[in-house]
């Protein structure tokens, strides 16, 4: 794990300026584009909580998702299709499961650090005060959400061999995640049949779990364990997929 983290640090060091500009600019742009506008239309949630506070974890999860995309693209698409470094890495004594697990964990760690910067900026811009415990819940939710999203992106990376296909599918996946995971709007705004389906998606469970803790203090084990279980099983699926893709 340390080796993989060190490698991410080497990569980050080489593009520190561009990365930090992106990490700082991203929450500002999202705030200008989404929060300011929607915040003036929706003041309270249907369940009578402050919309800005309700939206906050959703915005953090959106940033987390955006940050994860280039990391997963680089590790699983670019390094497999273009520079073929992933093939060399697959010839080391690491099993495919270990390889996927380590690359995914380092991606999550890096995305978490960047998302924490975004969390701070959002807190300042939205003028919110949240307890340390609330922030901690969001951090856990962010990693759980990231686990699902990363696995989805790894599957896309492994199933596609052309960059156009990768980005089109990722674009669709991204928007599906944003609008099906209760990040920006409550499911009560959606038709019943659609919301009934979306509620059972693992990503929705994560945002639901986080908000239940933040607003009601209820810890729903099902909402926590199910996405975690799906994420872990998905890692195994991806390792099998990698093995088949590399014909090893």
């Amino acid at each position: 794990m340390q080796t993989f983290l060190l490698r991410r640090w080497w990569l980050f060091r080489r593009r520190i300026f561009s990365t930090m500009t992106f990490v700082v600019a991203l929450p500002i742009i999202i705030h200008l584009a989404l929060t300011l506008g929607i915040g003036n239309i929706i003041l309270e949630t249907i369940t009578k909580f402050s919309y800005q506070k309700w939206l906050y974890p959703g915005l953090v999860l959106i940033v987390n998702t955006i940050v994860i995309i280039p990391i997963i693209y680089r590790e699983f698409f670019d390094l497999r299709v273009n520079s073929r470094t992933l093939i060399t890495l697959s010839l080391t004594p690491l099993s495919k499961l270990q390889l996927i697990g380590l690359l995914l964990l380092t991606a999550l760690a890096e995305a978490t650090i960047f998302s924490m910067v975004a969390m701070t900026i959002f807190l300042y811009l939205m003028d919110l005060s949240l307890s340390i415990l609330d922030l901690l819940y969001i951090l856990v939710a962010m990693n759980l959400f990231g686990l699902i999203v990363s696995n989805g992106l790894i599957t896309i990376s492994l199933l596609t061999d052309r960059i156009n296909t990768f980005f089109i599918v990722t674009f669709i996946f991204f928007f599906f995640i944003i609008f099906s995971s209760e990040l920006l709007f409550e499911f009560q705004f959606y038709p019943f049949r659609i919301s009934a389906v979306f509620e059972n998606l693992p990503t929705s469970m994560v945002s639901n779990w986080c908000r239940s803790l933040m607003f009601n203090g209820n810890f729903y084990w099902t909402l926590f364990i199910t996405p975690l279980g799906i994420g872990l099983v998905w890692i195994i699926f991806n390792s099998v997929l990698l093995k088949r893709k590399l014909r090893q």
Partner: protein, 308 residues
Amino acid sequence: MEASITLKKVGKLAGDKTILAGLSFGIERGSMVAIIGENDAGKSTLLKVLAGSEIPDYGNVFIHGIDLTKRRKNSQSYIGFVPFNSDLDPFLSLEENIRFIGSVYGVKDSNITKRIKKFATDLNFMDSLHKRASITSPGNAKKAMIVRELIHDPSILIIDEPTAFMDVGSGRATWDLLRRLAGEKTIIYVSQSLQEVERANDRILVMQQGKIILDGTLDRLLESTLQYHQFEIEFVNLTEKLFNKLAAVTTVVNPTKIGNTIHFYGRERAVFFQVLHEAAGELMKDLSVKKLSLRDLLDSEFAGKGLD
């Protein structure tokens, strides 16, 4: 001698095309083996199968007696594989690329540093170690790939074109290093440079259409063509009648006509004089005689059918 690598009826298919056709052979520990052959003969695929980069469709590969497919984790540490094109992480420096793979293999930092210094000095690219792989020359990238695969001290080194993209000096330094390592490590390589293969002068496998058609040392391979010579006689006017007359000489082998020049092979130089005798009275412009080399051996006439 103990076998380093053993192949048992190893085959690889691509759709209905056979890439490797049931290969069975062994490679002795510490030997240096060159794989040569025409394009699409299956050389690179064979290297990938030996390196575990691709699994065979049938048959088994054993590395020091361990089945490469079934006990991959155990066998993989014995192998270092350098593919033809760069597979370095383009955004890391050459040194970071080497260090990362070394750490993944569990090599101590101090050993990594020591080995990088030693091999990079041997291959003359110490100054380029800090350069990003994406902006370094392909020759230096190849050197870094060789060092990267030596960093975990494998007992088998598999290289696709060891000196590809390198200048003459770098090529020489690479061969010096490989020759020093041979004996201690089993080195298997594919090369299009037959001069390099002739100089390395160890075991040579000649591949054609997924099969090994010749296997042995250079001397042994050339034994099949021993005393064969290649002759060329350029006439002022080589008519069909004259060509047929010369081709009819019983000791002339594989005669071909290109313009006014006749090419043929013969077991002894005496053949040349028999042909000259037949062509008495015809005006000649040029003639040459040479002994057969590995290049001639690879010509389809020889490798495919043989002279006899």
